[in-house]
Amino acid sequence: MIPVRALRDCLDGVIPGVVSTCAPDGTPNVAYMSQGQYLDDRHLALSYQFFNRTHQNLLANPRVTLGLIHPQTAQQYRVHLTYQRTESEGPIFESMKAKLAGIASHTGMSGVFRLLGSDIYRIERAEVVPGSTLPAPLPAVDPLLALRTCMERLPLSPDAESLLDAMLDGLQAHFAIEQALVMMLDPGRDRLYTVASRGYPTSGVGSELQVGDGVIGVAARERVPIRISHVTSEYAYGLAMREGAERQGLGDRLETEIPFPGLAAPGSQLAVPIPGAREPLGVLFVESPTEMRFTHADEDALVALATQVGGLFRLFLAELELADEAQSGVPRDPPPAGPPLRVRHYAANDSIFLGDDYLIKGVAGNILWTLLQDYQALGRTQFSNRELRADPRVRLPDQSDNLEARLVLLHRRLAERQACVQLEKTGRGRFRLLVGRPLELEDMDLGT
């Protein structure tokens, strides 16, 4: 049997595979295949782009012989397959469609290569074709060792925010992945929002995109890693975002005020869902200016890493349910001095402006507005995640909503803007509001 790793390297679309089929009358047919995907040790999928002789043949005679060449070693393989079915939707199809779009763009075939379906085959037998080969190059990073080292720090993280930091730091230090970010899912709105990033000129914390848009959005929708070795505009998040903003009114115009942080000219991208109990908690996204930067082994390692992060994240959420209430009887902070700052809240989308500067919107905006109202009316500065979750004013979309991620977003956004309001952690599931100036709160859409 061919080592799985070699088979997967061959299927990555660098060198097209060759497919041999046979008509019922015995007439052979040979065709080039753009892309394949390893599914498990018994199955693989090949791209189906045109209803041609190959497809006619395999509907009558499902036996196929696939010729592959390893892109580094020149080793040739032959895989004997039996056609089983064609899938035209779902995770396998979407993952192959994204990859094929990259290959098509890279090979100047964008208008021609469109995935009609993913043909699923059972692997009957595989053989190594005798011939000369080159030694396989040693990878600069050993993904398994990098994964182990990176994972060691994760359980030491005291909260969700430092967990995400530990993961992104680990990607830089051990995987030599320079550009990475984490987006969390807002299940009520089917959108993802950036909570942490590394390697970009601006953090992009607070930027959003729609589930289903681009590499990240498809990974979230299909709950499957999407890895593209040659990036194409079809899956570029930036383009999808601009188009979205043009269609929409004020609400989406605000999103453009926090631009997505991604590379202007990415070569490779990989988006890995962070699994939750039902829908994904979010997506880990890495990219590089270099084409073909991320291997199958990188994908495997990042899937394992994201699974670990997802598990720990859910543990934090569960612990928060058990955390203490905010302590009462804490002395009030002395009121700040200086000129007052006007803080506006637009109820239509819960956007908050500090002075003339847009800060944040959505659930995170509503959380801040709730905190500021209590601060203004009661002088409160101590809060707990648990009471916020129960507070009807916060209007969390549903019980499973990821409040912790929204607080990470709010904390980072306030810190980045060096706002006169800051959040400071005071313990597990508890935090304190720091206000540096007198505030004038204005609810702009009351009565409308």
Binding site: V18, S20, T21, C22, P24, G26, T27, P28, N29, V30, A31, Y32, S34, Q49, F50, N52, R53, N61, R63, V64, T65, L66, G67, I69, Q72, A74, Q76, R78, H80, T107, M109, V112, F113, V129, P130, G131, S132, T133, L134
Partner: protein, 174 residues
């Protein structure tokens, strides 16, 4: 034995398939299991109307067994930079001894294919390794084209190319 009609390859097509293109050939067993092998170049004999394709014998065992049993052979020629692809099928494939000049033909093919792929970013050593084979291990399958297809990717893929149809060779001709 019935004579097969001979398809005359036009000079452009003959030049194309004899250039630095990727060549793969397929046949099938009596039970319909397809065979497949990468070729190391080809020779076109316009006068005889035959095409001879070269392989490394250890790689081509299944293909040679199937093609010489049934005579059925499909050969696909594809130019990597342009994706121009042509498939030529025959029904009378047989093993042929390597003739004078065939080694030079294989060597010229290796150089032309390497040059084509180096232009696309592959290393020459990679292509040379792929096409490496001791001279004495080369074998040749020869066949008369009976059908030509445009196999360039796209909706038109699989449509027959209309060639000039030549009269079958006279009885007793080689």
């Amino acid at each position: 034995m019935p004579a097969h009609p001979t398809l005359q390859l036009d000079p452009d097509l003959a030049r194309f398939i004899a250039g630095g293109v990727s060549i793969n050939a397929g046949s099938a067993s009596a039970t319909g299991v397809p065979s497949l092998c990468r070729a190391f170049g080809c020779r076109v004999e316009p006068d005889a109307g035959r095409i001879t394709v070269f392989f490394a014998a250890p790689q081509a065992a299944d293909l040679v067994r199937d093609a010489t049993r049934s005579g059925a052979l499909a050969v696909v020629f594809s130019e990597p930079p342009t994706h121009r692809t042509v498939q030529i099928k025959g029904r009378d494939a047989r093993l042929a001894p390597l003739g004078e000049g065939d080694l030079a033909c294989v060597n010229a093919y290796r150089a032309a294919f390497a040059q084509c792929l180096v232009f696309l970013g592959f290393t020459e050593v990679m292509v040379r390794t792929l096409l490496d084979c001791p001279d004495e291990a080369l074998v040749a399958l020869t066949f008369t084209p009976s059908a030509l297809f445009n196999s360039t990717p796209g909706a038109q893929a699989g449509t027959p190319l209309i060639p000039a149809l030549m009269p079958p060779p006279a009885a007793g001709a080689p």
